[in-house]
Amino acid sequence: MSNITDLSLSELVSNIKNKKLSSQDVTSEYIERSKKSKNLNTYIEETFDAALKKAKEFDSKPDLNKKLPGIPMAVKDLFCTKNVKTTASSKILNNFIPTYESTVTQNLWNDGAILLGKLNCDEFAMGSSNETSYFGNVISPIDKDLVPGGSSGGSASALAAKLTPATIGTDTGGSIRQPASFTGTVGLKPTYGSCSRYGIVAFASSLDQAGPMTRNVNDAALLLEVMSSFDNKDSTSVDFKRPMYSKDLSKDIKGKKIGIPKEYRVDGMSEEIEKLWDDGKNYLKDCGAEIIDVSLPHTKFALPTYYIVAPAEASSNLARYDGVKYGFRTEGNNLIDMYEKTRSVGFGDEVKRRIMIGTYVLSSGYYDAYYLKAQKVRRLIKNDFNNIFQKVDAILTPSTPSSAFKIGDKSNDPVSMYLNDIFTVPVNLAGLPGISIPAGLDKKGYPLGLQIIGKSFDEQNILNIAYSMEDKINFKFNLKEWWMNE
């Protein structure tokens, strides 16, 4: 057998079910490899001893009917984990130990998975490069000094470096799909309402969704199947019959109509991305799908809309961090002074900037001009998708306008950083599912991704399309383990 850490999630599951591997075999391999990979700065909190103990417990009485039998998994540090420190990569939560578990992680543990640790991300998931974390940059295993993308940067990096067989992230404007694209991995943002938001540190509640990050499409289907559930604890959780995504996965996409939105051909898009997109179209044609040119006329307004809506919701969600009931506190001369000092010291610059933007657009005299305006444009963007989904079954676009960039390259220009999410943000505004799959390499040898966007709750369809494309693309990246300490 090849190295345990080279196996995909689905392969590990079948090896454990066939009793060729034990949970302890798998867990200890991942722990060893994670210990040698500290240079990537992916983990904020390691729970290796507890994981080994749980693996041993699993092996002594293995329940092989579970979907993730004894599978170790590290998760983004935005998911609250009972009795395990949860920071959202912020100083303000540096000492926070939740007394409850998020629904999505609970679903993983209920199906047999074991927590390996908590993964670094942008502070409160606000960023596209993992440079805003209080715990420092995450490095991409793809190359030295390269960002893994964000905000689920630690998750993407740990997955690509094979420090976890699969992982979960959250996606508010592209935070699963963009880092997946940057690291040559698969990332899926489900339809809003598919995965419970209960116990996930809130950023922008009308946009946030948790989703799987995996090495292949089959794994994404399996993990989504486990994560997605109706939950009374999330008022926007949708009660629908959830398919068996991995069981129903199929490469038959004959006759599917795939839309190519012309507005995604943005100014200054590189030839490499154009070619990647064209190749994608051809693969789909080879699979028997029909390619149709479509128009999403309000695309260019999606990012400015997002940068009103998301900060507005964030300013409201983050009002709870005041140093009173939990988290970090700086003492002050009076109550207000304590609030102001606590928040000034506890939040990083990007988080403060977004709270300020949000406060401004919601403030008296500006609400109509900004927030209400953005909500109206959000309607237009959603209508665009509704219109073309009358004609097509799914949409194909690039995942990002470029491959990963170097650490520090965009950190001084917020707008250029925000433009990274140009292809992913419209999907969140419309609440749709989207998946990014690795589709090729650029001239520098860095991964590039393609995104498939589907109708609401049509995850099975985009998974099937991704599954058939994956076969044709046959993506390979030669991972050189330059970061490892022996």
């Binding site: 000492n95 939990y326 403060k352 900037r353 917020p414």
Partner: protein, 95 residues
Amino acid sequence: MSIDLKTVKHISKLSRISLDEQKAKKLETDLNLIFKWIEQLNELKTENIEPLSSIAETKLRLRKDEIKSKNIREEILKNSPDDNKDFFVVPKVVE
């Protein structure tokens, strides 16, 4: 519309985030850059468009108002930043 330093300080007050002069000036620059870019939304006429506040445009579910977690006082106080484990303690509010 440009945002001046006075406005930045006002927003910082509303946000309960204290700022020194240097940070305020940096934010003045950043916010002007960001809002100049955001203002392209004004190209769109939206008078008769219904605002969209949530994708889940369904009615909120009703449920019985009942206590599900009992005796969790200690748990709740566990993360309190102050050492007092009986109450949340804040600076004196009423003179």
